[in-house]
Symmetry: C2
DNA sequence: CGAAAAATTGACTTTTACGTAAAAGAAAGT
DNA sequence: ACTTTCTTTTACGTAAAAGTCAATTTTTCG
């Protein structure tokens, strides 16, 4: 386990710019330590970045990603808060399931296209 | 089977604005007929809109959605084009599978959160 | 130490995907 | 016929998510 990552190490690993990581910091999604002015990223920050980018790939907005991250931060002590959190978890789950269904549907259509292509290829080989 | 849909019928059905549908037309994603100036949407247009919105939910850009739609338009005749298309189908499939994996991972983390919440709830009930 | 490479801040710009408003032509109900 | 409701075009506006540029530090390494 490494102690710290520099910002450029992480930009290279994840294929994002420094501007992007600083933007995420401005947005409060990550809070790397500082030595003087320089940012020091720990592996927990690195992991958070992974989650942020995962959310991004799924088309979530920064606000939505923030919600998800807040959820990960662990359950609060108070009863009302707990119930609210579980409700939010349920909502996110529904969103994700919808997306998964969208993916399955799209994959199915791509399968059809693929078959049509193969059929057309076969025709061509026979020499239409 | 209905013959035509008006623009507002579709906006209501899909929960989008007229501006959005016109925007998609400007972008060449749909091409409704015209009677005079008024747009007439057929069920094929309606179906296309469904696909567009599905892509949108998945976080695809308009350009990417256009690619997918172009793919659906059916296999071209020429061999080179066919091979190109199959390559693009394969690429999209990979993108979608990545997204699906992202979803599974996120769902798994939500499961953990849920469990933690339930555990905390149990503690509260016993009276910590 | 001293130069080169890396990091920081701040400001301005860009792109995407629409929102909004204005002005005017068409449709439909009474 | 008249009013209300739709619809259209044109044009400008905007929020989100960075990109880009410039001017400074700060670090690193020979």
């Amino acid at each position: 386990m490494r102690k710290y990552y520099t910002i450029t190490e992480l930009t290279r690993e994840f294929g994002v710019s420094t501007r992007t990581l600083r933007f995420y910091e401005d947005e409060g999604l990550i809070q790397p330590e500082r030595r003087g002015r320089t940012r020091l990223f720990k592996s927990s920050d690195r992991h958070l970045i992974k989650e942020i980018l995962r959310g991004r790939r799924l088309g979530f907005t920064i606000a939505e990603i923030r919600e998800i991250i807040d959820i990960y931060k662990g359950p609060p002590g108070e009863l009302g808060q707990l119930e609210l959190m579980m409700k939010r978890v349920a909502e996110k789950r529904e969103q994700l399931k919808q997306k998964r269904k969208d993916i399955e549907d799209t994959l199915a259509e791509l399968d059809n296209v693929d078959e049509a292509c193969l059929a057309r290829l076969a025709e061509l080989r026979v020499g239409t």
